[in-house]
């Protein structure tokens, strides 16, 4: 532990897949990952709101992260997961195509996204990082999920 502290500023990322791209989110925000389970559609909500689901007795909203980020929709596969984020005590599930790993990335290795990211609204992106030679787009979940709230309410 002491060694890590000296190196300081290591970000642990949950790396997941949306379409062909890899995305990452701060592990502190991602509470858990669970298999895709039944989601009940909530009428009169934006298309990216997939609905609500039962997470151990709690009703939590589920977002289709692809739609939320403006990416083309894709079919559910056996590897589809719900990544549950927790912000301000509120849990929100995000449907992702697959969850790959938890990667440790030095804060220094995170670069501003610049023009590298296509298709995803820049305000949702914190930066990009290389993990095993692949580009991971770091999402700012607070932004992704907060903006959604504002638009709906």
């Amino acid at each position: 532990m002491a060694v890590q502290e000296r190196q300081e500023a290591i970000t642990q990322l949950v790396v997941f897949q949306l379409g062909p791209e890899l995305y990452g989110a701060d592990i502190a925000v991602v509470r858990e990952v669970c298999p895709l389970q039944r989601v009940t559609r909530v009428p009169r909500t934006p298309a990216y709101v997939e609905g609500v689901t039962n997470l151990r007795g709690r009703v939590i909203p589920v977002v289709d992260l692809r739609r939320r980020l403006g990416l083309p929709a894709g079919p559910a596969t056996p590897s589809t997961r719900i990544a549950v984020a927790e912000l301000d005590g509120e849990q929100v599930g995000m449907i992702v195509d697959a969850v790959l790993e938890v990667a440790r990335v030095p804060e220094k290795a995170i670069e501003p996204s610049g023009s590298l990211v296509h298709g995803v609204d820049r305000q949702y992106v914190r930066g990009v990082a290389h993990v095993h030679d692949r580009l991971v787009i770091l999402l700012d979940l607070a932004q992704v999920l907060r903006n959604a709230q504002r638009k709906v309410v």
């Binding site: 709101v49 609500v52 039962n54 151990r56 007795g57 009703v59 909203p61 929100v92």
Partner: protein
């Protein structure tokens, strides 16, 4: 053994605190009733019993100050009970003051910290009351006087004196071995069909905890069905009273009226701690004996407390989470079952698994429901602290008023109850302080001298409504305008143009207060803005209606969060929706050919009334599969809210049941027509409809009964 007698476990203290809370509550309710309705013998008996019980248990605990004060209180109550004292304001005030002191002492026990409150002052006040009675010196009375309260023909004390020499020797031996003699009185429920069986069961349990030296009635008598309404037992044990109590909890139809160290067995001499309490001990030789008398008249007590246990909320939360896990696993098992059934249909293993799973499923749902219910508390728990507060405040401010409380049985999730306490308290204070006029002013205005404050809770659709209404002076929009201008909230011009209804709402502005004098009641800078903010934090809202000289009405609307409602479950394209049953008028099946079109809207006529149809599939924009054909008959759920009716068209009816409303979460926020969601027995989430919200989407003229132009 030294202080062994007071070697109390945390559990003992907890039990004491819980009991003390109950007794203090009984007393408070009683005192309020005493003041309002005068001396009612039954009420007085209840108060007396409470004081008595508290005295006993505080003595057991060794909290001498509490014992002394309760004893003095008991003397006063006893005289009241016997009609030797009259109910006066001074008396009631003293009783309340006494209650406060006792509350402080209870806190001392809870925190283990000395409050520094000297009992001398309250003792003097009680003594002054006590001596108001002519002649007799109260402290000279002994407990024999209590005999009057006991049913005739029953010994009040534990009958130690009838111990056989061999039994006494056994007790001494046990003491030497470090065992405690514990006395226990078990009261049978009055309606118990077989008290002797219960007595036998209780004896068995007690034997598990130690050695039963003797019981009254004896085991032989019990076996011969010779029992009265109680059983006294002398037990030698190393277990704590709390442990024994827990053990006895498994025996139905009984209540442990008292349990604790048995004294009066010649053991005190070896227990120094008792000697310290000598003066008190002389009057009250054993808590056991004291308590015994309170147990006797305890029919009402049994009824009220006998069937409940206290549970830590954390425990309920944990249980809830555990059940949640079960629900998930159940869903998983179902998935396995589906695969099994596909692969090896008809197989015996599959069938067994199927039926076992169905059972687990039902059990899990039932478990979930019950735990959720257990989290609900009636508002009574909150409301009951208000009468005292309002009374004290009214007296302080010289107001003459009555507080009417209604709907205290309305249930709300515990967490909401905790959060709503302060805002309600504030609104009530406002009503007393600013609302109700002084009596003379009321009389001058031709109003009843006594003002009235109404505190009422009720269910409304998917919310709890709490109304606080007074018949006081109301809020004058002119004064609000003036104050707003003075405080720079509005320009004079703007204030003049603003309609009265909007002006009134200025009272919610931060820093707004119409009274200039700072009373120590409600003018301490905490304004209504804070009240509003706190209520909104709970996703609630508060509205005000006021009329000068008629009164003010605050209407607090709160979401239920976890509240349970009865709902009709309907389905639409395979998804289940819940319709709160309280807005459902009837369910009908109508042929499509009965549907008429009026002003481009579908309606049907029912008993001469035109009822607009609301096709849920359209309202919610539900995708129908290709080739969907409308059935010839439609299921219509006729709902009514505030005189507006509509028929909601659904695919199918599933049934009705209790559902627990859960919010959709901040991320989704408020959706018109949707009140929340609920978790169904199979773990799926169903959407709960908000009928008023849905009806709002209909043009108003369509939803009123329009009988006129039909016929």
């Amino acid at each position: 053994m030294g202080n062994g007698d007071f070697d109390l476990s945390e559990e003992d203290i907890k039990v004491f605190l819980d009991e003390a809370e109950e007794q203090l509550q009984v007393m408070e309710t009683g005192f309020l009733a005493l003041e309002k309705e005068g001396a009612d013998p039954e009420q007085l008996q209840a108060i007396f019993r409470a004081a008595h019980t508290l005295k006993g248990s505080s003595a057991t605990l060794g909290h001498q100050k509490m014992t002394v004060v309760t004893h003095a209180l008991e003397n006063v109550l006893d005289k009241l009970r016997k009609g030797k004292l009259a109910v006066t304001t001074t008396l009631v005030d003293t009783l309340f003051a006494c209650l406060d002191v006792l509350g402080t002492y209870r806190d001392e026990i809870a925190t283990g910290q000395d409050s520094g409150v000297d009992p001398a002052e309250i003792l003097a006040r009680l003594a002054a009351l006590d001596s108001g009675e002519t002649g007799e010196n109260a402290s000279a009375r002994d407990d024999a006087a209590d005999q009057g309260a006991r049913p005739a023909g029953q010994g009040a004390a534990f009958p130690w004196q009838s111990l056989e020499p061999a039994e006494k020797a056994r007790v001494q031996e046990a003491l030497a071995m470090g065992l405690q003699p514990v006395a226990c009185r078990i009261q049978f429920d009055q309606d118990s069909a077989m008290p002797s069986v219960r007595a036998y069961q209780a004896l068995l349990v007690l034997a598990d905890h130690g050695e039963v030296v003797r019981s009254w009635p004896s085991q032989q008598e019990v076996e011969a069905d010779q029992v009265t309404d109680h059983l006294d037992v002398l037990l030698l044990t190393s277990d704590s009273p709390a442990e024994i109590r827990t053990g006895l909890a498994q025996v139905p139809e009984i209540e442990v009226a008292w349990i604790g160290p048995a004294k009066g067995l010649g053991a005190e001499a070896s227990q120094g701690a008792d000697a310290e309490r000598e003066p008190e001990e002389r009057r009250a030789p054993e808590p056991a004996r004291e308590e015994a008398s309170s147990g006797n008249g305890g029919g009402g007590r049994n009824g009220r407390y006998g069937r409940t246990v206290r549970v830590d909320v954390d425990l309920l939360d944990n249980l809830m989470n555990l059940v949640g896990e079960l629900v998930i696993d159940r869903t998983r098992l179902y998935q396995v079952l589906t695969r099994l059934e596909a692969e090896r249909a008809g197989d015996e293993v599959t069938q067994v698994m199927s039926s076992a799973l169905a059972h687990i499923s039902r059990m899990t749902s039932a478990l979930q429901d019950e735990i959720q219910r257990a989290r609900m508390l009636p508002l009574e728990n909150l409301f009951r602290k208000f009468p005292r507060m309002v009374r004290d405040l009214a007296q302080k401010l010289g107001k003459d008023l009555q507080l009417i409380i209604r709907g205290e049985e309305t249930e709300l999730d515990r967490s909401v109850i905790e959060e709503i306490s302060d805002p309600l308290m504030h609104l009530l204070r406002n009503a007393v302080d600013h609302g109700i006029e002084p009596p003379e002013e009321r009389v001058r205005k031709g109003k009843a001298r006594t003002g009235t404050i109404l505190l009422e809770a009720s269910h409304e659709e998917n919310h709890i409504i709490i109304v606080i209404e007074d018949d006081g002076r109301g809020i004058d929009p002119e004064q609000v305008r003036a104050a707003a201008v003075r405080k720079g909230l509005l320009s004079e011009e703007a204030a003049r143009r603003m309609p009265d209804s909007e002006v009134i709402n200025l009272i919610w502005s931060p820093g707004f207060s119409t009274t200039d004098k700072v009373s120590d009641v409600s003018g301490r800078g905490v304004g209504l803005d804070v009240v509003q903010k706190n209520i909104e934090k709970l996703n609630g809202s508060v509205e005000i209606r006021t009329q000068v000289d008629k009164g003010t009405r605050f209407r607090v609307k709160l979401p239920l969060t976890l509240a349970i409602i009865r709902a009709l479950q309907v389905s639409l394209e395979g998804t289940i929706y819940c319709i709160p049953l309280n807005s459902v008028v009837e369910i009908d099946r109508i042929p499509v050919s009965d549907i008429q079109t009026v002003r481009q809207r579908e309606v049907f006529v029912k008993r001469g009334q035109v009822i607009p149809l609301l096709r849920l599939a359209e309202v919610f924009d539900v995708q129908r599969p290709e080739g969907y054909e409308e059935p010839e008959e439609l299921y219509v759920v006729i709902v009514s809210v505030m005189g507006r009716q509509a028929g909601i068209v659904v695919d199918d009816l599933i049934g009705e049941g209790d559902v627990v409303i859960k919010p959709l979460g901040k991320f989704i926020g408020d959706v018109p027509g949707i009140a929340g969601a609920t978790i169904m027995g199979d773990g799926d989430v169903a959407i709960i409809l908000d009928i008023p919200g849905l009806l709002e989407s209909l043009p108003a003229d369509q939803t009123h009964s329009e009988t006129a132009w039909v016929s």
